[in-house]
Symmetry: C2
Subunit: 465 residues, 2 copies
Amino acid sequence: MRFIDAEVAKLLKLKAMLNNNEEDTKSKFTLKTPKGMRDYGPQQTAVREKVLKIIGDCFKRHGGQAIDTPVCELKETLTGKYGDDSKLIYDLADQGGEMLSLRYDLTVPFARFLAQNKISFIKRYQIGKVYRRDNPVMTKGRYREFYQCDFDIATTSDPIIPDAECLRIIYEILNSLDMKNFEIKVNNRKILEGLLSICDVPSDKFKTICSSIDKLDKISWEEVKREMCEEKGLQESSADKLGEFVKLNGSLQLVEELLSGDLSKNAKMKEGLEEVKLLFKYCIAMGISDVIKFDMSLARGLDYYTGVIFEAVLLGQHEVGSIAAGGRYDSLVSLLSDNKHNIPCVGVSIGIERIFTIMERNESATNFYPTKCFVASMGKGLVEERFKLLTELWDAGIAAEHSFKTHSKPLNQYQYCEEKGIPFVVAIGGDEISKGVVKIREIKTRKEFEAKRENLIDELRKLLN
Amino acid sequence: MRFIDAEVAKLLKLKAMLNNNEEDTKSKFTLKTPKGMRDYGPQQTAVREKVLKIIGDCFKRHGGQAIDTPVCELKETLTGKYGDDSKLIYDLADQGGEMLSLRYDLTVPFARFLAQNKISFIKRYQIGKVYRRDNPVMTKGRYREFYQCDFDIATTSDPIIPDAECLRIIYEILNSLDMKNFEIKVNNRKILEGLLSICDVPSDKFKTICSSIDKLDKISWEEVKREMCEEKGLQESSADKLGEFVKLNGSLQLVEELLSGDLSKNAKMKEGLEEVKLLFKYCIAMGISDVIKFDMSLARGLDYYTGVIFEAVLLGQHEVGSIAAGGRYDSLVSLLSDNKHNIPCVGVSIGIERIFTIMERNESATNFYPTKCFVASMGKGLVEERFKLLTELWDAGIAAEHSFKTHSKPLNQYQYCEEKGIPFVVAIGGDEISKGVVKIREIKTRKEFEAKRENLIDELRKLLN
């Protein structure tokens, strides 16, 4: 006996050790989403769907057709399109076969789609997630996986006609989303090019000086100047000249003043200013010129822009940053098709993560729960009767559900409806079934009345309208 | 002179070589989507949106709430959930930080979401793309990136109540999509477990023999038997016994016969059969039992199923394979949460790529082009007048567009409308503007009439209804 006890003790000890080891291994398991990526719960998804519907409807109102491209592209398709930001691209592991990356935006995949299919006319929109290995700042709505809503017009055109429509689209969307206090800054890459040449910036410093200018909405001119001169080796005289011009911003009047002044002796500058002037005229015709601001400090980071550029910001919410931006890119398609095919493009991208953050706050009290009618049973053994009744409701297109228990107390069922915001209960018991009736109860008022089974759908439709 | 000519010739030769080199480098660039992934053009996307709307509406009708999870998961979240198929998972490159993979299905991310947020009740749906490094067969609708539409119920419940609703959801969706000739095969992992034990299959061979049985819809019993005995070392007597049972399929009557026979002496078998019997009863109540077929050869590949399993197939379209499938998985959440949280789940996944292929065929003639009204101008210099008119239409919610040229011939504009299927043209010229009228033209009938500008929206709305 003593022998057996000892053996049992040993075994128990071994078992305990095994369990501990198992727990050690298991506890290393991390239960989380990848860094900078997040789940959207039901309430967030419902708000998001509402926002996306408004945006999609606007795109369609402007003749936009949706397309969809893979979330992966060949690595080489993305190479050399994003300047310094290329380091933020997610690559897939080499598992044999092609080298792939996750898309960084929707513009380059769109240009690849145009080049591959030799398309020379389309108004397309695309709503999808893009991926950037950036430093995530959740509070500012900056994620590593986030949605973009892009509308682009690919066509040969007379100047600025499609560009102006892009600004109108931003205007309509922000208004529909009740973000009424915004302005759309506009500039033109041709103006920047002219400006840098006027200020004697060497042409090889064009891109890097542009990216310094682009920081003016975040840091002061003094800091930008220091970066230009000390880090990037620009002459101080050049920087000072630039400093005078990038302060300039205003309306059509400013554009016209500059056009009649010395600046427009530079051909590029003149061309750019003429385009912005035309843009203003079209914006006046569309009733949106009040929100348009010509801003010579707007530069935009991406390599591929060639003409008009723009960016919408919410006023008084500086920390939110831009919520829509875009511009003209007339050479990107040729870059992807080895010049075999080209088509000029202009487009806008709505940055909805920031809009979501604001909308979620506004819609926090909205009940998006889909169910309109809860089927309750009073008494036991009525699951099949409930299913019959549910089927009538589903067939009529009424969102309906019941308890997943064979039997539960009426009070519990009503409480569930209150929690979820289900407005009506249809209840049956043995009596109701034999009499061919149902009880309809409105949760909010606790009013209850009896209806004939054959009139149920009509009664509910009346109540739901 | 001769010297200069010679030098020029040399330089030209050098230039040509450079150009050639440049072309060589460029021509290596491949203009394509990744293997097994595809673009959806405008027509395909419109069909897809129609299908997804029908599916989403059905999910909502059953109280489903949408959630969204990242396209990437931590690699360890996916490890050990998919049996042999784990080799098909796409990994991301190690760029520092966490090891990530692309999601393989929507079920494991859902279970991770439940475990992470300790949720014990939700009816959720999710529509999103999943990724498998499988051998793509485009003609069969098998891609490496494809959509899944999942509806799952996570709750403790009395037996089979949520399971039955999943079958009803498949029924409603396939009917709404006009795929009326289908059947839903059902079986139960408990029945399979009992069966293998009755046929003396060693328990360590359970999974591998199940996966052989699963092939019965693709290869003959003789081939399956050969695989079981020769490759997997099963006794021939066991295989022969199995062979008798897996042939069995039928309706509730068969289930009841088996329940009253010898098989149900095995406890697992009895439990499984009772569940299928109850499932049939609920399906009768919901009016869908005609399409339900109990099939003892249905095994389903994935590791995580624990109870009822099911699979919908289109009859007479064998090559299409299953178009919806699912089952009960009562332990997956606990696996992801180290047993700290568990909740039983049952769910269905609609495989819409196959449905798209069929629907695209049916909808090839449907015009999805969004624009309802084209604004034409007669005469030059009217772009701003067009923008004014367009703005009135956009404000009224009417999808409208115009030419991107300052001026084009009326005939060209009408022809464009015919090509795109835009039903109406609103035309203005100098005369119309000064008289405060517009010309409205119906493209199909070529009928044209004049309307007062202030009545334009009302007139168009009448015509469009």
